[in-house]
Amino acid sequence: MDLYIQIALIVLAPFIGGLVYGIERVVKARMQRRIGPPILQPFYDFFKLADKRKMIVHSTHAFLGIMHFFSLWFALAVLLLGGDFILVIFLHLLSTALLILAGYSTRSIFSHLGANRTAVSVLAYEPILILVAVSVYMLTGSFDVSSIFSYDEPLLVKMPLAFLALLLILPIKLKKSPFDVAEAHQEITGGVELEYSGIFYEAIYTAKWIDEIFCYTLVYLFGANNPLIGLGLVLFAFVFVNALDNSSARVSYKQMLRFSLTIALPIAFINLLLAIFQQVL
């Protein structure tokens, strides 16, 4: 029964992600006292993009974009099936690396800038995710995500600092203001996704929806054995990220890196030390 739910979640991930993205646009519009688009707007965009004339820069570029989508979906599948946490993080890194390669494969300056900035944002959030994974290992004795579900207490109670660190890097991963340097629509008009158009842009656009599901699943893990706490945390993170997105201006990539490595990383590290001490005592 449980496996059926997992497989249904994996197969329906793009659909659920699209709904989340649509709700997010409405929530952001309401925060600015606008009416906002319909909730199904991302799917309208999706069908419209399928109807455009096909234009590509070169075949490798289009192929890397599509592979980015599928590798991200695969990482989400491993996460939802309760696989190895470290493997999940590295599969996610692989999908981002494919996107960075796609950015470098064109001659567009904005695409190169976007790829550079994506690489910097990976540098900002990756160490924290790995430290959180190691802390989970210290607590439960296993790198498997399924061990979090079978642990008798929610992770939030055991290591609140890890949740705080994850909350701080969530805007970097979701490319939200103030840490949206990788996308920066007013500055480099989308960065890596700039050179994609029509049906090939859909792969990047849908990958964004799957990325949202991926991030909110990571948040859900902190209340994994009690679905009520888990969903509450997801709701809190959703409102927090969007309120922060609406109320803050973009910082430069150096400030982002400094914030991440001097504030979020020490928090994650202290959390790891506490987890080790709890294990020893």
């Binding site: 009416i35 319909p38 707007q41 309208y44 419209k48 109807d51 989308g190 700039l194 994609y196 842009y201």
Partner: protein, 172 residues
């Protein structure tokens, strides 16, 4: 599966300033602000020609900006529509006949909807975009080219060549 009906529901806008005085541009940005909020029709100001459907052009086409205008038009994938916003973009406006610009964008690219006014009001822009959506519905995916190659710009007659003037001053 027929995706044609979704064109109307998510038109993405590209805004290009071809030497405008910024009056019309401010009005276009006012459409995106909370009072008029055109995002409720699913419109986004993308700023990226490769992903947009509607090209909003303001300003008389100055000789510096005409190459870029044609380039941007060529980069947009079909089906696409062009709206000329304001008196300058439609006819040249107060700049018509001046040495540095030509009268209106329709000398270079095919225009579908003309929005009048100096500067055009946000209500008029929204009305123009809604009319353009009706035209977008009827368009096909066939290649549309700029008219630049068919119609060469007029030869400048009676204009001073700056290099010659500079040379004269140098020798004198």
């Amino acid at each position: 599966m027929n995706f044609k009906s979704y064109r109307k529901k998510s038109p993405w806008i590209l805004h290009y300033n071809a030497g405008s005085c910024n009056g019309c541009d401010i009005e276009i940005l006012a459409c995106l602000a909370p009072k008029y909020d055109i995002e409720r029709f699913g419109m986004i100001n993308t700023g990226n020609p490769k992903q947009s459907d509607i090209l909003l052009v303001t300003g008389p086409v100055t000789k510096r900006s005409r190459e870029r205008l044609v380039e941007i038009y060529a980069q947009m994938p079909e089906p696409k529509v062009v709206i000329s916003c304001g008196a300058c973009a439609s006819t040249g406006g107060v700049f018509r006949g001046m040495y540095n610009c030509e009268g209106g964008i329709d000398q270079y690219i095919p225009v579908d909807v003309y929005v009048c006014g100096c500067g055009c009001r946000p209500e008029q822009i929204i009305d123009g975009v809604v009319q353009a959506l009706g035209i977008l519905d009827k368009k096909t995916k066939e290649l549309e080219e700029s008219v630049k190659l068919k119609k060469q710009p007029l030869k400048e007659e009676g204009q001073l060549n700056r290099r010659e003037i500079a040379a004269e001053i140098k020798t004198a």
